[in-house]
């Protein structure tokens, strides 16, 4: 119950597929989605394998609560070794694909090997076909979804696909489903591209059952109510995640112009207020909000670009509505590149979705290129004649499209910031960890966030821990190790259920536990669930250690460790990683070099 107890294993090299039973021992230890996917990945590949080679394994994983009436039950994760970090990659997504995959009867889809020619997977319940994707190769995500639905005459198909960025092995290419929801980070789309797999299209009619339906419905009624009444939830529904841009601006934690500054003068032009205010032509950016599968929050934004804006004035094909700005896209296509033109940001975001790229990594890579351009390291000769200065909205729009399509300087931007800055002799300008770029929070102004970034198993990420409260209560690096560790384990558990992290706006651990306990057989306690989260975290860490990473990779850029924040609440402060990291290793039960001790591994049955 809750799990479908089936795994679909596809061998792309041989062009075959087979169904195998879900390992319930692993499901009981790792719950599902992120945790269970990590276990399957660890058991199915050598972490030393080339991330873009055929020996990497790509896993689509749902959780036990995916496809149930629990709020936000649409989530699935994509796991593999990441080409940006050479560490474990685990990116989750909403939309409707994840639930559909579960309705077709599969908890996990494991993709191995590499197809000789471009293919896509077509799944309707038990029927699984590997079909040629020649008509789709070289096309974007939006074309691909439409084509597949039309080709099969089945509007009920849900599609997860890669755009040209995934095909071109852009190191931060994503897997996009339902047009504008994405397993966004760490380059999982490039791995899909390296396997010559264009898309997975899925329709299911089997449904999902739970262990104790009566109790589950009673629990869900309560959790729905709790979430509905939460102030944080109301804010997410009404304003969306971009409410954060005003908070970070005020706080002084908004990374600006490649982290040279922590406040941006142009937030008023790209914040939620700007999105609902008519411009000179009477155009309003935001149209409506939208939910993912099963979600009673609906934080997603649907927006459109002013028809008279330079990005689309002669391009009618981009006049329609699509996914709008969320906080991370607004930050990475805005302050960090110094741009304050909301239509240019929205256009760049459309490019990210259509061509399948992570806007965070793209934006921060472009920011590093802009800094090098302003230093004179890069010139117009490198940049196809584009004036690559901070604040140039045209440069943002042009480079977003070039990177997506793999044209000109876009190919260089597709390497990601670490490789790009190294190539041009300025590795210190890479703003990220383990090869992955930072999200929109500055480590000098949010110390626990900095520790979380440094220790995140998939490279810099804001979604693998949750210490906003602690960071804003105490701006120093004191007492951050324990809450970072605890929240990392908690988030790993939540990510493993099949539900969305944003429900924590209204729910505590006990709410996830109550829903799991009613849906799944056996007894699910808070202790068991949190231990499962810690087990997942530690297994991810062990994957990385086996891949060749060490404690030395738990680092932050020199800029954040040595150059004080120039303004805001943290003015004069640097990231206190040197103090926090040893404390963190100690509370984790790891050696001073950051290796989990045998005692810790035994305690977690690893």
């Amino acid at each position: 119950m809750a799990w479908q107890r089936k795994v679909l294993r596809v061998d792309l090299t041989r062009g075959t597929s087979r169904v195998e039973p879900l390992n319930m021992e692993w499901a009981n230890a790792y719950i599902g989605e992120r945790g269970l996917g990590t276990k399957y990945l660890s058991e199915n590949m050598d972490p030393k394998a080339d991330a873009l080679g055929p020996d990497n394994v790509l896993i689509f994983a749902t959780g036990p609560l995916t496809g149930t009436m629990a709020s936000t039950s649409g989530r699935y994760a994509v796991l593999c070794k990441g080409p940006l970090t050479n560490a474990i990659a685990c990116s989750n997504s909403g939309g409707k694909f994840g639930a559909e995959m579960k309705f077709a009867g599969y908890d996990l889809i494991i993709l191995q090997g590499r197809s000789e020619k471009p293919v896509y997977l077509h799944i309707v319940d038990d029927e699984v076909e590997i079909l040629p994707a020649d008509a789709l190769w070289g096309k974007g995500v939006w074309f691909t979804e439409d084509w597949i639905k039309n080709h099969h005459g089945n509007p009920n198909l849900k599609v997860a696909s890669i755009g040209e960025a995934g095909e071109n092995l852009v190191r931060y290419a994503c897997v996009v489903n339902d047009l504008h929801r994405a397993a966004g980070r760490s380059g999982v789309g490039a791995v899909m591209g390296s396997k010559n797999l264009k898309a997975i299209a899925c329709h299911g009619t089997k449904g999902v059952r739970v262990d104790d339906p009566k109790r589950f419905m009673a629990v869900v009624k309560e959790t729905h109510k709790k979430l509905a009444e939460s102030g944080g939830r109301k804010e997410l529904t009404k304003v969306g995640t971009n409410a954060m841009i005003d908070v970070m601006q005020e706080w002084g934690g908004l990374p600006t112009r490649n982290f040279q500054e922590v406040q941006f003068e142009g937030t008023g032009k790209i914040n939620p207020e700007a999105a609902v205010t008519p411009n000179a032509h009477g155009h309003v950016n935001l149209i409506t909000n939208k939910a993912c599968f099963g979600c009673t929050i609906a934080c997603g934004r649907i927006a459109h670009i002013d028809k008279e804006h330079f990005t689309v004035v002669n391009r009618k094909e981009y006049w329609h509505a699509s996914g709008g700005l969320e906080y991370e896209t607004a930050y990475a296509l805005g302050p960090v590149v110094g741009v304050d033109d909301i239509d240019a940001l929205t256009f760049a975001n459309f490019m990210m979705n259509e061509h399948g790229m992570d806007p965070i990594s793209f934006g921060v890579t472009l920011a590093a290129a802009m800094e090098m351009y302003e230093m004179g390291v890069l010139t117009r000769e490198h940049t196809d004649g584009v004036e690559l200065k901070f604040g140039n909205a045209e440069a943002l729009a042009v480079m977003a499209e070039k990177t997506g399509k793999g044209e000109g300087f876009g190919k260089e931007l597709g390497m990601g910031s670490m490789r790009l800055t190294a190539k041009y002799g300025h590795p210190e300008l890479f703003m990220g960890v383990k090869g992955q770029e930072f999200a929109g929070y500055d480590s000098r102004a949010l110390q626990g966030m900095g520790l979380g970034y440094a220790t995140s198993n998939r490279g810099a990420c804001h979604l693998k821990h949750d210490v906003f409260g602690e960071d804003m209560e105490d701006i120093s690096g004191n007492n951050k190790a324990q809450p970072v560790k605890d929240s990392q384990d908690r988030v790993a558990m939540i990510d493993s259920t099949g539900l969305c992290l944003f429900t924590t706006a209204g729910w505590g651990v006990e709410d996830f536990v109550a829903q799991l306990d009613a849906a799944c057989e056996g007894s699910w306690t808070k202790e068991r669930c949190l231990e499962s989260g810690e087990r997942t975290w530690t297994l991810e860490r062990m994957f990385n250690m086996r891949a060749g990473l060490t404690g030395a990779d738990d680092s932050l850029p020199k800029r954040l460790l040595e150059d004080p924040a120039p303004s805001g609440n943290a003015k004069g402060k640097v990231a206190e990683l040197g103090k926090m990291l040893p404390e963190y290793y100690a509370v984790r039960g790891w050696t001073t070099e950051g290796m989990p001790t045998n005692e810790t591994l035994n305690r977690l049955a690893l």
Binding site: T205, G207, T288, A291, T296, I302, H320
Partner: protein, 158 residues
């Protein structure tokens, strides 16, 4: 008082809680493929429209059924399928001008909205009140009121 489902597409976020609630009520499983109500999305999610049976007073499906498996529930006004009589001939699915009667290949019977016997679970599950269950005689009440409030007779006579 007879009640009807009132659908306001402007409020729909396309979360599909209604489809899950419907399938759970009728099949005991969360399965949008077997829901009697369906959400349609247009233009990358710009619009989402819930669609289900309107319980016609002169029901095409009911008249078309050759075995009288479709029966009016006098309390709720809903046209219900009697599974023990339905032979799965699908004539009703052809007769319905709106497409809201459909065949379930798993059971060999047709399925349609039956208003859950007077407590429609789609409306109960909807988090945004895009689907509500109201007095049949006044489904237009809110819309009338919205126009009424805009009416300014003073401006015309001043």
């Amino acid at each position: 008082m007879q009640k009807s489902l009132l659908i306001d597409p402007d409020k729909c976020t396309s979360c599909l809680q209604c489809e899950m609630a419907c399938s759970f009520e009728h099949e005991g499983v969360f399965n949008p493929a077997r829901s009697r109500i369906k959400i349609f999305e247009f233009e990358h999610g710009k619009r989402a429209v819930p669609y289900t049976c309107t319980q016609c007073a002169e029901a095409w499906c009911l008249h078309a059924c050759p075995v009288e498996a479709l029966v009016r529930n006098k309390t709720t006004g809903a046209v219900e399928v009697r599974d023990e009589i339905c032979v799965g001939c699908k004539v009703c699915t052809i007769a319905c001008p709106f497409g809201t009667v459909n065949y379930n290949p798993d059971s060999g019977k047709v399925i349609k909205c039956d208003l859950c016997g007077g407590d429609p679970q789609c409306a109960a599950a909807c988090p945004t009140e895009a689907i509500t269950y109201v007095d049949s005689a006044w489904t237009g009440y809110e819309r009338m009121q919205a126009w009424a409030v805009k009416t300014d007779t003073k401006a015309a006579t001043a």
